[in-house]
Symmetry: D2
Subunit: 163 residues, 4 copies
């Protein structure tokens, strides 16, 4: 069975710097032989999928709608759900570990759901957005132990050690 790494972060327009981080992380996921799973849309998800595909990796996108065509073009296996934002619960439950890059309320929901599911999350805090903000939260010890902070360069290596 393959190890699956979730990549979560903003849909929509992102800076080239964030896109570069996400693409690099996608590349590393491919090089380690992991499957990349994400919400299948644009922004961080698309950049990460592109990096993964360009390095021969495999990408899965859990889509909010029933329309497979809403997946970004680097998604190999699109999983349309019809669940709307509730598909974020599956983005959180499906992978062995999640890597969070930038992001806002959708990403926050995925991090929080991952904690409920006792899944580890690697936070790329230098990517900003909720990935920077999340460290301000004091959570119960059981949850903070699931959160790991990392640089973009070390994120996949950190994830690899945890799964």
């Amino acid at each position: 069975m393959k190890k699956v790494v979730g990549v979560i972060g903003s849909d929509g327009p992102i800076s080239s710097e964030i896109a570069g981080m996400a693409e690099k992380i996608g590349s590393e996921i491919a090089r380690k032989g992991f499957v990349l799973l994400c919400g299948g849309r644009g922004g961080v998800m698309e950049a990460a999928c592109r990096g993964c595909k360009n390095n021969g990796g495999l990408t899965v996108g859990i889509l909010p709608s029933l329309d497979k065509m809403q997946a970004n073009k680097h998604v190999d296996i699109a999983i349309p759900t019809s669940l709307g934002y509730a598909r974020n619960a599956i983005v959180a439950s499906a992978p062995d570990i999640l890597i969070s890059i930038y992001g806002s309320a959708g990403t926050l929901a995925e991090i929080a759901m991952a904690l409920n599911y006792k899944k580890p999350v690697v936070i790329v805090e230098s990517s900003g957005g909720i990935s920077e903000e999340i460290k301000k939260l004091k959570l119960n010890g059981e949850y903070t132990q699931l959160i790991h902070y990392s640089t973009p360069e070390k994120a996949v290596e950190t994830a690899a050690k945890l799964i």
Copy 2:
């Protein structure tokens, strides 16, 4: 059609102070003629339901399992789902507005999902837990406009103005 106020917060043991806040808020929900909707379990949910029932209100519990007997005894209408923690997405989508009291990762997931759904959330920040921590997060403006801070005494009144 009835106005529905969601109450979110910790399952499990809570202090008598937090229980008092939740019960008071449940009472006010009943007095205003709103329906109280929650995750149906213990802690904050149970205290809020008790306050609501003791004042002639109506309570709905969206349960994680299929077992109705897992609802606290003040739930009138138990909705078993079999969705596990993914039921938190429904606790967030169902009400017209949410009131957050204390809480941890489950509550954080509900707040974040509510923001995705563009639902307003009234945060009782003096209740501590994630309800205190959440204000530390800098979110996009569209989301912060959905978050309203309140005292326990004013929470339902604040909610009433927003729905």
Copy 3:
């Protein structure tokens, strides 16, 4: 805790005969003091809710979208879900028992999900549609024991004996 009876059947245009059956069943649900739960939309659901409301009952509608305004006007407590047709799984898991009137693929999904959840289903076979067709299916014994056939007049009484 209240007993909850699910009413499932076609959305969209129905004959006045079917509407009459659904309305009568909704009335009986109210008279027995049960809560009526349904998918919250038109057709059979709307007629059943109307019958329930006209007799002082309480109605819950589990909606596919986030838009409460999509509920029929006889729904007291609308539960928007954003789940699309996947909300049918909740329509099946939530009630103590289901009554099936007329219907097509959506109703069939709800009957089948109810069987998975080991919930009894009362089928009003004279209402036609999938409620007539379903008896042609030979299912495993464990499932057929959950299916009860009834006239429109006796459906709620049959349900009442089973919950």
Copy 4:
């Protein structure tokens, strides 16, 4: 983007004849270069995954629980969901087309959900169970047009023509 074929049918003990059909269908899915998606458990799902893997294919399992270890050993990408039987809605929404082999109430729910989602379903009627029974149902024309009957030998070819 890869084409995804869903295989639905009984979990639990199946005859060697049914297992042979499922394995053969899994093999053909691999040979055509499609991804096989299923509920990830035993019985028909396991046999189909085995056939797919033995022919170099790729398999995805949408699991009811959070426990990846509940996947059969021929699943490459396990997607734990925590949704219980409600995961059947995703087994129905995710693939481009479904092939139904044998099965009971769970399979019936998946067929019905697929029809709601306007997904075509290829029924291997000689496999018995719900896959034999389903043809007895008279459904609305829009739904019957989505149902295609086939022999085990021709099932994947039939599916290939439809996607």
